[in-house]
Symmetry: C2
Subunit: 333 residues, 2 copies
């Protein structure tokens, strides 16, 4: 059954998401919602668009709701902020039925509950392709007023990775090639899940923010989320173009599903993982003298971490060789 | 010439918009930007999508940049907040050349400068249709912590309108029907401008917010922007469904271009203007005993205002008759 009007769609949204939230002074439903405000606010916007970021063939509406929010929460978390709310610009095609919309809301709601987020409202439009544009924000303490960020690395710093790389790329590759998504899930379940429903590492980002404050590293602990692959994102983390800094990256912990797939295809698994994309892992830099303390923190995380190398002048190399690809660009020919 | 990469597009954006702004603690370019924060923040999201909200046939890229931001600033202004920043989710088709992108940025920049806004960043994607999703915010004072809003009207209140209605609908109608947009501009320039480049009444909204604080009307002066036409928006302003309130609306000030067009087409100009749509006027309610003071304020505005009627139980009628249309719904059959 298709919803008959915008009001019908909003009624489905209302059934899933409470109108109010402690962080809102004025709930959604008016021209604006009003955030309580207070300290600094980290803000990010990410688009999740049909055929650019997902295909309906193997993305359920739950997956679409989940991932469109997850990629934003990942950005907020990587700044060390506590995710607190979001708004959504949702462009539907008019073909989405009530079951589809319920699934979309359920996927978004799952993350909303995990991170206790306010949904401040948004806008609905109709077009020939699905497009989900989320703006999310999170609270920073006055002790970390600019959040964690890129470009603070210095020569000698340790580069670290929290989470896995390469899995989402495998999920994408496998699901694109498969006639049968179910069989794909059986063959590489972790990779499919990582591509369809990545879990943003926001609690980990917050913990790193707190670590930075406790160790006086507000301007020396670098962090970003790896959304375009390590090959493309590490030079951003190091601000290589301006700083001239790079590293000899050693990547040895590649997930068994990636290793198995690459072995079957005659591909270099480490190179595959390094190019990656949509990993939503966290990459960071830290002064060498703080690494031992940081390692103790990272060891307590529920996701794996690894030390990727040491910052030095020059290019980023992978296991001693220049990487063969610069990653993905939507607008390159 | 088409930009060769995402970086080329971002370089065009950077030439138009300064990176920093006093309201940002961390400028755009990282995973998140960081807003300084402080008081309550009014937040809104509006989509501006090809074929749903605009056609490229008669919308220049300047118009698209302008209007996609204007509709958001209008929402922020109608809450009585001072617009302070925005982020943008921009989905391009890959066919936009450098001249197009320069125009788009220039249109957005014109409003950014008028209202001294920070651009906190955003996201770029590629799809088969243009889609501009803007999230904008504005600062509220602690004396108006929930902003101006709908649904505060009581029986006996005065309903007022700031700005014109019907012009944007005429602009849309004329431009849709015309083979030659230039001729259209000559025939009804104000209507074309109102449809393509509406000026958000944010300074007027801020003045009304200040009036509310000075007169102790924070919870009694209602305001919203008229984006879907008076016929559809007045019941929202009065929260008619729940409150059972309506009004006998008398609309007598219709712009000459609307009057002339409707006369030529054998249409009722008042009805045409009442149904309207995309007017980005402000509609409000105010206790009758404050009307004289409010009228003195409105008289000083650079845009026209009118008194539409008095709130009473029952339906909203227009010049004594039930309106014939409920306005536009993207998702109705």
């Amino acid at each position: 059954m298709r919803p008959a009007s915008e009001d019908d769609i909003l009624a489905i949204v209302s059934r899933h998401f409470p109108v109010g939230h402690p962080s809102l002074l004025l709930d959604r439903g008016d021209d604006c919602a009003v955030l309580r405000g207070g300290g600094p606010l980290a803000v990010t916007t990410d688009i999740f668009a049909e055929d650019a970021h997902f295909r309906r063939r193997y993305f359920s509406s739950f997956d679409i709701g989940w991932k469109s929010l997850a990629v934003n929460i990942s950005d907020v978390g990587s700044s060390g902020a506590k995710p607190s709310g979001f708004s959504i610009g949702l462009t539907l095609t008019g073909k989405e039925d009530v079951v589809w919309l319920e699934g979309f809301c359920a996927g978004m709601k799952a993350l909303t509950e995990r991170f206790d987020l306010a949904i401040s409202g948004g806008d609905l439009a109709r077009s020939s392709l699905l497009n989900v544009c989320v703006t999310a924000w999170g609270e920073l303490s006055e002790t970390l007023p600019r959040g964690l960020r890129r470009g603070v690395a210095q020569e000698g710093d340790v580069i670290f990775l929290v989470g896995n790389v390469g899995l989402a790329r495998l999920g994408l590759t496998a699901l694109e090639a498969a006639d049968d998504a179910e069989a794909c899930w059986e063959r590489c379940p972790v990779a499919c899940a990582q591509h369809l429903r990545p879990m943003p590492l926001a609690f980990e980002g917050m913990a790193l923010g707190r670590f930075a404050v406790e160790h006086g590293l507000q301007d020396r602990l670098g962090l970003m989320d790896v959304s375009d692959g390590l090959a493309r994102d590490l030079p951003r983390l190091l601000n290589s173009r301006k700083s001239g800094l790079g590293a000899d990256v050693v990547l040895d912990s590649v997930h068994p599903e990636v290793r198995e797939y690459c072995s079957g295809q005659g591909l270099d698994a480490v190179q595959f993982a390094f190019e990656g994309g949509e990993d939503y892992a966290l990459a960071g830099t830290c002064p060498a003298e703080e690494w031992q303390a940081l390692e103790a923190l990272l060891s307590g995380f529920a996701v794996p971490f690894s030390r990727l190398g040491t910052v030095r002048p020059g290019a980023v190399t992978l296991n001693g060789k220049a990487p063969s690809s610069a990653g993905f660009d939507h607008f390159s020919a």
